[in-house]
Structure formats: C-alpha cells, structure tokens
C-alpha cells in the first residue's frame, strides 16, 4: 500500500471516514435499540478486524492485533477503545383512543426543545409531530410555563387508537428527524454524541494498529453507562481510551472559560468528570503526543457529564482510563454541530497515542 491512500494520511494515521459519520448520524438508535446503528459499524469494519462479536447486551466487540512480522509479533498493553452507539431519544409508552402517542425520555433531553419537533418512530420511520396549542389559544400564564414531558404527545395523523396501532406499538423508540449536512466546515446532524466517537473508532480500525486493541461500540451509555460496564468486564483491558462527542460551551456573551471546549479547537481531553478521574499518566502521554505531532488540544470543562470511561475504570481490578472527545455544539438536541477537522485530529491523536503507549507504558 502506498504511503498515502484513501484510508491513510501522510502522517500514517487513518483518514476520518466522514461517510460513516453521515450514515451513523442519520440512522436511529435510542438506548436499548442500537441494532440498526450497529449494523452500519459491522459493515464498515468486518473486513478490517481479526474478530467481531456482539456481546450479551448488544455491544459490538472487535479485536485488532498487531500483525505478525518475520521477527514475531510485538506485544504491548491491551487497550480498549470505546465509543457508544446509542443516542438520546424517546419511547412510546401509550397510544390513546384519539390516536395520540405519549412517550418517555431515554437519556437527558431538555423539555424546552420538544414542542413543534418532528420525530421518526420505529423501524419504519413513521413521522410524528409534537403538538402544542397555538399562541392564539394559550393563556399568558401558560406562555411562561415549560410544557413538562408528561404533558407532551406525538401526533402521527392517526384519528384513532386502531389506526395508530397499524403503524406504531408501545415500546417503539423515536429520534429527532434530522438530516446530516455540511454547513461550511461545520457538520450538522443528530446524535454526534456519540456517533462522532463511533465513526472515529471505525476509521481507526481500518489500519493495522501497533498494539493489541479491542474496539468496543457500546450500548446504553445514555441510560447509565451500562453497555460498557459489561463489555469492559469481558474485554478485561490493561488500559482504556473512550472516544466521545462532548458538549462545547460557545454561546453569545459566554466568557472564554465558559466557551471551552470550543468546536474547532481540536480534541478535548478530560481531567475529571462526574464519573471519572482520568489516569494522569495516560493523559500525560496523550498531551505530549499531541504536542509532538502539533495536534491542538483543549480541556473539557472539569466536573461536567460522565462517560463510559467512568465504568470501565472501575472494571475488574481497575483500568487506567482517559477520554478524548470531539467538541460538539448542541448535543442532546435535534441537531448538533461538529468541525470535521476535529474528528480527523481526534483520529490522528488516538493513532499516535497508541504508538506512544507501545513505547512508553510500563508493564
């Protein structure tokens, strides 16, 4: 293979597969219902990995080893790379006699983004709109009141329960009806948390890796970091790197501190969040690698959010773990933003970090 190719960049790192990000973003996969998203990853990686399995919870687990050479295989610490397949969404909980659907949240969604929103429901993608009374019929007291989740409903156009039941069922999940697009350097789509990480991880395994790596596309992150908890136990890695799409903080009037991490500012590194104290040695390797490779990085705002790394780090007798994130605007909302250059830099950084780990990590 030539030094640069559609799969590989001049620095040796794999090319970020934006086509995968687009396909993954457009597909629906609410926590517990990740099968269709997983199928896209399977298709993208099956010919590039040594083994590929679906575990008991539905997470996708791929082994990628260093290729044997004439001098024999070079071993190093066993690294788990993890990105979660699931996205926040809603689940249909009842179908009322007038044909309206009631629902509950799966994951953290602000009730203020719901009114007037369009959802794609179930495998068939039936469209539903979240109804709200017109301003003409809204009292001034109600104008000041956020409609709580329990009062919201989906209108699919059905006039009766019977008509609705021909198309939807209790337990169907639904996602924001958002289409991936390129807006200048910005990419707009739903579920960049964490389809960005999923696409970076699928891009990374397109190339032979310098270490024994187990790539995990985990399920049920948004409902309590559950898939990775089980997967980490089974994989039993020496180290873990979690790849995420994290919240950036830019807004009108926001200070520099409040804005960080910024979209376009390079991979965001975690010091600690609500679930994890990132392993300082690992973070140090990542930082020095970034500096040596002239990859800009930034700090994720400390103490905010949580990722699969929180659970992986506690697995077994403990797994030193770190998180590398693509800073995205408007995660957990109908449409998020990311800068495609950040996704490529994240792939670059993880790639070079794996090489650094092979050289530096004490066994």
């Amino acid at each position: 293979m030539s030094p640069t190719s559609p799969r590989r960049r001049a620095n040796g790192a794999p090319r970020f597969r934006e086509d995968l990000l687009e396909a993954l973003s457009n597909e629906s996969g609410v926590s517990g219902d990740e099968e269709r998203v997983r199928a896209i990853v399977v298709e993208a990686v099956r010919d590039r990995v040594d083994s590929l399995e679906v575990d008991a919870m539905g997470s996708l687990v791929a082994r990628v080893g260093p290729r044997a050479t004439a001098r024999g295989p070079r071993r190093g610490p066993h690294v788990m790379l993890c990105a979660h397949l699931d996205e926040v969404g809603i689940m249909i909980t009842s179908i009322e006699k007038e044909g309206r659907l009631r629902f509950r949240r799966a994951g953290g969604i602000d009730p203020r983004i719901m009114a007037g929103q369009v959802f794609r429901i179930g495998a068939k993608g039936i469209r539903g709109v979240v109804g709200i009374l017109p301003p003409h019929l809204t009292s001034s007291a109600d104008e000041e009141r956020v409609v709580p989740f329990d009062d919201l409903y989906l209108d699919i156009g059905a006039s009766s329960r019977e008509e609705a039941l021909e198309h939807v069922a209790r337990g169907d999940t639904a996602v924001f009806d958002t289409v991936y697009e390129r807006w200048g350097e910005t990419r707009k789509g739903k579920a960049f948390d964490d389809r960005a990480g999923c696409a970076v991880l699928a891009s990374l395994v397109q190339q032979p890796l310098p270490l024994p790596v187990t790539a995990v596309w985990s399920v049920q992150e948004e409902v309590g970091l559950r898939g990775a908890t089980a997967a980490a136990r089974r994989v039993a890695p020496d180290l873990a790197l979690v790849l995420e799409g994290t919240a950036s903080g830019e807004a009108p009037g926001a200070s520099d501190g409040e804005s960080a991490p910024r979209m376009g500012g390079g991979p965001a590194l975690t010091i600690h969040d609500r679930t994890l104290m990132a392993d300082a040695r690992l973070v140090d390797i990542i930082r020095r690698t970034a500096s040596a490779r002239r990859i800009p990085t930034q700090w994720k705002r400390p103490g905010v959010g949580g990722t699969d790394a929180g659970k992986i780090s506690l697995s077994g007798t403990g797994v030193p773990s770190a998180v590398v994130s693509v800073a995205c605007r408007y995660i957990h909302a109908p449409a998020a933003f990311l800068d495609a250059r950040d996704a490529q830099r994240t792939a670059d950084l993880v790639w070079h970090t794996l090489h650094a780990i092979r050289k530096e990590w004490e066994r």
Binding site: G108, I113, V129, P135, G157, W183, G253, R329, H332
Partner: protein
C-alpha cells in the same frame, strides 16, 4: 368516483408542498409572488401584481359586461424573522415578524435568506451545562440566537441586517394523508385559491372571479393587502380563505374544528348572512361536509378589511382546519383544502349576475 377524488387530493398535496415551501415574511412577499403568479397563470385568464405586491388571478365571467366581481383572498405572507444583530462569535439575534410562541423555537432549523441562503439553527444549552432548574424556565425570544456554524467574519460578510429568516422544516407526511409544514397559515389558503381558479376555468361562472394572494396579513392591525385589493377590484362580494384552529389536545371544542371535517363557515359580524347561507346551501347540495365557526367580533382574517373597504362589501370567511398554528408543524388535511375549493367554485359558478345584498326599499 374514488379514483378521481384521490388524484385531486394528491395534486392538492403537491401544491401544498410547493407553495408552503416558498419564503416570504410580511413585507418580503416578493420572495413568493413570482411562483404564486405562475401557479395562478396555469388557470387564470389574466395575472397581475399591484404596486404594493398583491398577486391577482382573473377568471373572466360569461355574463354581459360590466360583470360583477367576486374577490377570493388568501394571504401569502408567512410568519418568520428578520436579522436584528450579529454578535461576537457570529451568533445572530432576530426579531420575529408574526406571533411565535418562543417555546416552539429552541433547536429548530431555519433558513437565512441571504444570497445565497444560509441554514442555521436556534442554539440551545446542553443539559450537561445547565444550572439546576434551568430547564423549567422559558427562554424569551430576545435571548434566543441563531448559529450558522460559520465564522463571525463570514456571517458579517454574507448576512445583512434585516435579512429574512424562515423556519426550515420540509413538509412532513403524516397518516391519513395529513401534511405538517410551516406556512400552512396561509399558503393552504393560497392553494385553495389556485384550486378554485382551476375548477372555475372549466366551470365558467357568470361573474368575474378574482383570486388574490395578499400581503401583510400577519403584521400589525391593518390587513394591508386585503384593503388595497378591495379598493382596486371593487368586488360585489369578498371571501377570505384562512386557516382555522383544528381539534387539538387541550383546546376547547368551541375554539376548534376537527381536521377532515370540511370547510369551516364563519358566522358573526364579519360575515354577511346571505353569503353564509349561500355557501352552506352549496355545501349541502354538493354533499360536502362543513362546520360552523362562531366569531361574534373579529374573524382575524383579511375579511375584516375587505368588509369595510369602499362603501362596504359583503364578506364570508372559509376556514381550513389546521392544528398547531404558528409552529413549524402546522397540520392540515389536503382533503379539506380540496373541499374548500369545490365549495367556492360550486358557489361562484352558480351566482346570477343580478345577485346583490343592497336593497332599495323605496
């Protein structure tokens, strides 16, 4: 015949998809007028625009000249926004033109009608970064902002202040043939006029029938386009076609008419009783379902200004049942739009040229 009915409705749905997608806040109707003029021109004998921007499509009557004229008015402006300010970071503040509920805006995509147009969305704060209790507070419109994902310099270069901004929501097909889109208010009325002109181009009324797509219904207290159109056309009767609140969860039955129930016929001070009676009689004779809406004072439509134009003009109001008005998912049944057009065409086609509501008593 069911097959004929279905093709009529699917064609109405196609018109709704096309015409609701055109931009045009009050004062910027020129963004939609050429397409609407073209649509009128497929069926009308004459099409013209007046100096303030109304678009007219004429069906020439078969009666002896001078013939009476009927005015069918639907407003072509849609609620939207104008760019008010560009802030550090390239974030855009907007002012709304027309009555939005700001609770329906966070996270919605819009199109900024710069040249070329630029998509954007109303920014939201992710739950991870919110203070406790923040998600229970409504964000007022002056605190909302647009994000294009582009640099401040590009935004400043490409987006002049005052640029029109529309909600960006492609029409959504729901069950039962229902269609949700921003701009049903009142492009569904414009489509009703188009379909009525189409029917009358075959049925040939004795009267001249003038369909008008009016400007600036959603702005201020004067229905400017309707007033000027009435002055220009001098009609013997005027009918406004606009959306009416459809049946919705949480709305009183008294404030709404069910989707799929056919045209709403308004009774009240804005409607001349003879017009109401005539339309109702036509609905009955054509076997069209209809529903009565009672508005003792304002109908809130172009008919308000048509009625008091010139020496007074008898008016009626036809309502298209529509859910979630003034949101991005205004929902109608194309079947209802089609029935409104058939009702109007049926009524106007049979009107004798000596029809008048004025009486000389002595």
């Amino acid at each position: 015949m069911p097959s004929a009915t279905n093709s009529r409705e699917s064609s109405t749905a196609e018109w709704l998809r096309t015409i609701t997608s055109l931009p045009g806040v009050p004062g910027h109707e020129h963004a939609a007028a050429p397409e609407i003029a073209r649509a009128f021109g497929q069926f009308a004998d004459r099409v013209e625009r007046d100096p303030i921007g109304n678009v007219y499509g004429w069906i020439d009557g078969t009666g002896a000249a001078p013939r009476p004229r009927a005015l069918l008015a639907a407003h072509m402006d849609r609620i939207g926004f104008l760019v008010k300010r560009i802030e550090k970071g390239g974030f855009i503040r907007v002012t709304s033109v027309g009555g939005f509920d700001p609770r329906t805006l966070p996270g919605k995509e819009v199109m900024i009608h710069s040249k070329p147009p630029m998509p954007a969305l109303f920014g939201t704060k992710p739950p991870h970064l919110q203070a406790r209790g923040e998600s229970e507070k409504v964000v007022p419109i002056h605190e909302l902002y647009l994000d294009t994902g582009r640099s401040e310099s590009e935004v400043r270069r490409r987006v002049p202040l005052g640029t029109m901004v529309m909600l960006r929501q492609p029409p959504v097909a729901l069950l039962g043939g229902r269609l949700a889109a921003p701009g049903m208010d009142d492009r569904a009325g414009v489509v009703t006029v188009i379909r009525t002109l189409e029917l009358l181009s075959a049925q040939r009324p004795a009267w001249d029938v003038v369909g008008v797509a009016t400007i600036e219904e959603e702005f201020g207290s004067v229905f400017l386009g309707a007033r000027t159109a009435s002055e220009k056309i001098d009609p013997r009767l005027g009918i406004a076609i606009d959306v009416s609140h459809g049946d919705m969860a949480g709305a009183r039955e008294a404030d709404t008419i069910p989707l799929g129930g056919g045209p709403g016929l308004t009774v009240g001070s804005n409607v001349h009783p003879r017009l109401f009676e005539g339309l109702r009689a036509t609905a009955r004779s054509l076997g069209l379902p209809y529903q009565v809406e009672a508005y003792p004072m304002s109908s809130g439509t172009d008919a308000m200004d048509i009625q008091i134009s010139r020496e007074g003009i008898p008016t009626a109001v036809i309502g298209i049942p529509c859910r979630y008005m003034h949101t991005g998912v205004e929902t109608v049944e194309p079947r209802d739009v089609d029935r409104c057009a058939r009702l109007l065409a049926g009524y106007l086609a049979d009107l004798p040229t000596d029809w008048s509501v004025t009486e000389v008593l002595k």
